[in-house]
Amino acid sequence: MRRVILTIAGTIAGLVALLSFKSHVPTVPSASVSTTGGSGTAGTGSTGGTPGPSSSPATVPGEFPMGSLAGELTVGETAVTGQLANTVYGPVQIQLVMRNGKIVKVAVLRQPMNTINDIRIGDFAFPKLIGETLAAQTAKIDAVSGASYTSAGYIQSLQSALDNRA
């Protein structure tokens, strides 16, 4: 499961980077996962994950940090934070909230300046996409054939999850 989490964090980081719609710039997302705290006592959450190479969590001009979900965890939930992925679009950092081995929330702790800023994690298709990614990994497929998707549809599609996996 840890391996799957790692892959998914990388997938999502790549997807967030892709959402900036910059043209044809190669990206090398390199997220890996460090499990933050999360003891079993009621209401205890973990502190936000430590970013990778940059030591200071201070805002870099041009970034739009979102709050860590670590302070809002309920019983049985753990926050898992990926390392800072320095994509060519800019820095991306993903946080997953797990409950009973399932991903229940996604937070984009850092995203590049030009991404679509109205990514509301609750509304966005990330949870659906995560489910699809898990299904695709279970089926070990290389590509998906289906009725033609548009560029916008691709972003939320299974094929994009396959294209972006680590």
């Binding site: 089926a139 497929i141 033609s148 998707y149 094929q159």
Partner: protein, 270 residues
């Protein structure tokens, strides 16, 4: 976006209103000279160079054949602004092929699906198959190109393993209906697109409603894709029609959620 794990070349290109995904798993750097881009392939620039040329080819096809661009050859030919002789020679090639498929499909494949000239049902598969061939020519023995859901697989995915292609379930978004596997084959699925006009039955003028989706498997994507388009318009008659085509098999999910397949389709089941 280009990237991937060590040795695997992947690229996703936004073009033709969709995204074309390239996957060359066996690019293990120095082990495969073609991938190192050193003096390999006819153009001497290896798989990476071929990928760049394939991408440029797709954009050229888009500019020339898109019915959504006023200045494309297709649009101008459709409005009569230009004659066929004034268009790129590929237009003639495409039109002749479309005419043959139209006859073969009893008119269910058409270049005027909405009453205006639009050969997209042929062009996309043709463009993808040719893009894959460019990478083959550069020395890649196995790669996969997915043009918005229509897939051309060349060789296998490495270590003798067949390519595994998931078929989207048209009735359950995000789920797979089944998985097919094969080498040197193409898979095309025609169905209700997420956006855009319904595929129309050219004989009745009404939307084709028998099927939720139909998947055709064959060797080359050009014809596989065109046959899938014709089959969807045909509806329930498609099963007998594809059965009659040598080298092509089909699997379909009906609007009611039932499914059927041609007698040889089982050979593709993973």
């Amino acid at each position: 976006m280009t990237g991937g794990q060590a040795g695997r070349l992947r690229h996703a290109e936004h073009v033709m209103g969709t995204v074309v995904s390239f996957d060359v798993p066996a690019c293990a750097g120095e082990e495969v000279p073609a991938c190192a881009g050193e003096e390999a392939g006819p153009a001497g620039d290896g798989v990476g160079g071929a990928l760049g040329r394939a991408v440029r080819w797709l954009h050229w096809v888009d500019a020339t054949f898109s019915p959504y661009r006023e200045d494309s050859d297709v649009s101008q030919l459709g409005t009569g602004e230009v004659s066929l002789a004034q268009c790129a020679p590929e237009l003639t090639e495409v039109l002749e092929a479309c005419a043959a498929i139209s006859v073969l499909s009893g008119g269910y494949f058409t270049t005027t699906p909405d009453g205006r000239f639009d050969p997209s049902g042929y062009v996309k598969g043709w463009a993808i198959e040719r893009a894959a061939a460019m990478i083959t020519a550069a020395g890649s023995a196995g790669h996969c190109v997915n043009g918005g859901g229509d897939v051309q697989c060349v060789g296998d995915r490495g270590s003798g393993q067949p390519w595994r292609i998931g078929i989207a379930d048209p009735l359950r978004a995000g789920s797979l209906a089944l998985v097919v596997a094969g080498r040197d084959f193409a898979v095309a699925t025609s169905g209700v697109a997420e956006r855009g006009p319904h595929i129309v039955n050219p004989h009745t003028g009404q939307p084709a409603t028998d099927l939720a989706s139909v998947t055709v498997a064959g060797s080359g994507l050009t014809l596989t894709d065109a046959y899938a388009t014709a089959a969807f318009a045909m509806g329930s008659g498609a099963r007998d029609w594809v059965e009659s085509l040598d080298g092509y098999e089909a699997f379909a999910i009906t609007s009611r959620g039932a499914d059927w397949q041609t007698s040889g389709f089982a050979a593709y089941l993973a």
